[in-house]
């Protein structure tokens, strides 16, 4: 990331001559400090001038010892210059900041989450209700004074309810039927709840309730040493667990200022691309399954099992692998593993062709998906779409190209884009991405660099077991690292990788101790799912299922 603070300062001093802005470049991130009343004008300025077009997330943080205890961070991204900017403001208890939903609609759920977790007030937000915790929950869980293990029971489920919409005018002449779908419903994959009002077969209005799988990832991260957080990240997007490991470790490694060796980078790319393939298998397969096409799901699951076998050979676990460590990998792959990956690539090519034969020209599939859930590129950006769902609208944004890491820039692969952003295009983009992932895998697995699989920094990586048991130096090193943990310098950063479903970002605050002070995840499907009520309104009930499946919602990262 480049230092753009000088440009920003000039730009802002022209627009807001009366204000002074504190702009700094720390740990590779551009940070702009503003007062709460300046947040919305500055955000609007950035959006209107086009310097930043994405609002990636809104994160809160709590510093109880400070006079103004809350931080609110707005993470901006430009799809033109690929620059990032973090806008920060401080709030005291009881103060409020104007809502950013008037600038970016995608701020909606992120602000609700801040309210739920910290009690931060966003003035003018139309639906400032709890979003992740249940409605009977008292207090705000991510405040530092809330104990991590204090449970509060929920005795009843919420009745059907809808968001406040100032533009909604009830029509007394219509005979509307309320309909509740989920959270226990085969098409909602376990934990999503959709509430709708039907006008015949048409959705008159819709609402969603999430949080049924809110397992307090962020609080758990604050109470565990850096390396012990890795298994928790596995369970964010459990359909492609290694990608979350990589994203998290990449953020911590940046905080520590270390670079992992080439071999570890290659293994991480292989893990990521294998995960991308199996994630798309679940998404496309389940999407088709929900619409009645069972064969593709059953057939593709065979290939998923093959990847499980590869993971099992690597570390013993099938699904939640926790293979990365801060500083590299946990261990070397076994003999011949890379050849097995190449063998899998060959088989998977066949599998993708089979999938295309089953679905791409299938009349029923086309009729159920083409034109359904279409969204324009502008709207998608407005909501904060990333990943295949964004690319299907025609925006070619892939962090592997835009902000390459681990040597993606040296690899030869294409970024597929769609045109209409409907369910069918999302499907096509995912299928093509599977092909491109196979291409990447073949390039990397053929030329794996030699050398070590991890860095050997004594303050970060545990020594080899033979050293721990074999000599006193190794034993002491092991002992000290386990007791103290690895300790990044105090500071904060935002780091993102291209996960299967879009931009997976980690906002990490370190206070110099052995545990993260704050770890906020920017889950791709959280931003995508908040547009769901608007996408289904006016459509048929049956299309709800098609659209839901195409968004690839993984409750683990949606609710965290």
């Amino acid at each position: 990331m480049k230092n753009i603070t000088e440009n920003l300062r000039q730009d802002l001093s022209q627009k807001f001559p009366d204000n002074k802005f504190n702009c700094e470049f720390v740990l590779g991130d551009n940070v702009l400090h503003v007062s709460p009343d300046q947040v919305v004008p500055v955000l609007r300025h950035f959006k209107e001038t086009g310097s930043f077009d994405f609002l990636m997330h809104v994160a809160g943080a709590d510093y109880p010892e400070r006079e103004k205890r809350f931080d609110v961070c707005y993470e901006l991204f430009s799809s033109r210059s690929f620059q990032r900017l973090r806008l920060k403001t401080q709030l005291a208890e009881g103060e409020s900041v104007p809502t950013a939903t008037t600038v970016w609609r995608g701020a909606d759920w992120f602000e609700r989450e801040c309210y739920d977790m910290f009690g931060i007030q966003f003035a003018g937000h139309p639906n400032l209700r709890r979003i992740l915790c249940h409605h009977q929950f008292k207090g705000h869980a991510l405040r530092k004074d809330y104990p991590a293990d204090l449970q509060q029971h929920c005795t009843e489920a919420l009745p059907i309810h809808f968001d406040n919409d100032p533009n909604y005018v009830p029509d007394p002449n219509k005979d509307l039927v309320p309909l509740n779908i989920g959270p226990s419903h085969p098409a909602t994959h376990g934990t999503l709840r959709i509430m709708a009002e039907l006008d015949g077969e048409k959705i008159h209005r819709a609402g969603v309730e999430i949080g049924y799988l809110h397992r307090c990832f962020e609080k758990m991260a604050e109470t565990h040493p850096y390396n012990q957080v890795i298994p928790y990240t596995d369970r964010l997007n459990y359909c492609s667990a290694p990608m979350n490991n990589v994203g998290y470790c990449k953020a911590v490694e940046r905080a520590l200022g270390v670079e992992i060796p080439p071999k570890a980078q290659a293994i991480r790319i292989i893990l990521c691309e294998l995960s991308r393939i199996i994630d798309h298998i679940i998404c496309v397969g389940a999407n088709a399954l929900d619409l009645g096409a069972m064969t593709s799901f059953f057939h593709l699951f065979t290939y998923r099992e093959k990847v499980y076998t590869l993971f099992e050979r690597l570390c013993g676990a099938r699904l939640t692998v926790a293979m990365t460590r801060v500083g590299g990998m946990a261990q070397d792959p076994p003999e011949g593993w890379f050849d097995e990956v190449l063998q899998f690539c060959k088989e998977m090519r066949q599998g993708v062709d089979d999938l295309e034969r089953l679905l791409t020209n299938n009349k029923i599939w086309i009729q159920r998906t083409r034109g359904v859930g279409a969204i324009s590129a502008e709207e998608a950006i407005e909501w904060g779409y990333t990943g295949p769902c964004l690319r299907s609208t025609g925006v070619s944004l892939d962090l592997r190209k835009a902000d390459p890491y681990y040597g993606y820039e040296t690899l030869d692969f294409d970024v597929p884009v769609g045109t209409s952003g409907d369910v069918y295009d999302r499907y096509l983009v995912r299928v093509e991405e599977m092909r491109q992932s196979i291409r990447i895998l073949e390039q990397v697995a053929k030329n794996v660099p030699g050398g070590d699989y991890t860095i050997r920094d004594k303050g970060i990586v545990l020594p080899e077991k033979r050293d721990v048991y074999g000599n006193i130096e190794g034993l002491m090193n092991h002992f000290m690292l386990v007791i103290k943990g690895l300790r990044p310098e105090p500071g904060e950063l935002y780091d993102a990788t291209e996960a299967a479903n879009g931009e997976l970002g980690f906002y990490l605050v370190s206070d110099g101790s052995g545990k993260p002070y704050r770890l906020k995840v920017r889950p791709p499907c959280f931003a995508i799912y908040q547009s769901f009520p608007q996408q289904v309104t006016g459509g048929l009930v049956a299309d709800v299922i098609a659209i839901l499946g195409s968004m690839n919602l993984i409750a683990g990262e949606l609710d965290r």
Partner: protein, 187 residues
């Protein structure tokens, strides 16, 4: 029908004459057993699971249903998403406080006789989520018959859990946890 599940009962006195002929003829196409045995045999081999997959375990449960592990071999392939048609609740994944009232209702909607399989560490005890919004085991709100360890359990372990339930049904194991259960009471 396996011989283990249905044992021939010793006949009392040997009948004579035409009676004897009738009994022998009957034995060629019928056998005797106890009613609870034959009912248990039927139940155990036609479990209809209601998959309550909420998280990672739900994905592993898919593997159990899929071709490689194939739960159909145990007579449990009719996956029912309606609790009213199912008799085996497989709780696969973390149950949060927000989800608790819903799983109680799902359990109540199932018809007797019904069984609960708690799959994985989260459903069994909250797992490594000792956290403010996670129910510390689904057995706090519904009676669990079999717990499967693992995070997530391997498909083999899930098959083992299903077989354990089958054994419980076959042996008519008393289930006090089920008999003393009350809805809405946190244990």
């Amino acid at each position: 029908m396996s011989e283990a599940s249905v044992k021939q009962q010793p006949s009392p006195a040997e009948p004579k004459g035409s009676d004897r002929q009738l009994v022998e003829e009957t034995r060629s196409f019928a056998f005797t057993t106890r009613i609870d045995k034959i009912v248990a045999w039927g139940r155990k081999n036609s479990l209809w699971p209601m998959p309550y997959g909420t998280a990672c375990c739900g994905i592993e449960m898919m593997s159990v249903m899929m071709p490689r592990y194939d739960l159909a071999r145990f007579g449990a392939e009719v996956v029912r998403f309606s609790p009213r048609q199912a008799d085996l609740l497989i709780v696969a994944g973390t149950i949060t406080e927000k989800m608790a009232p819903i799983i109680i209702r799902i359990y109540q909607q199932m018809l007797e006789p019904k069984y609960v399989l708690s799959m994985g560490a989260c459903a069994s005890s909250g797992g490594f989520y000792r956290a403010y919004h996670v129910l510390q085991g689904v057995d706090k709100v519904v009676p669990v018959d079999v717990y499967i360890p693992g995070c997530p359990p391997t498909p083999e372990a899930v098959l083992d859990g299903v077989m354990t339930i089958q054994k419980m049904i076959e042996d008519n194991v008393p289930r006090p946890w089920r008999d003393n259960w009350e809805p809405g009471v946190y244990r």
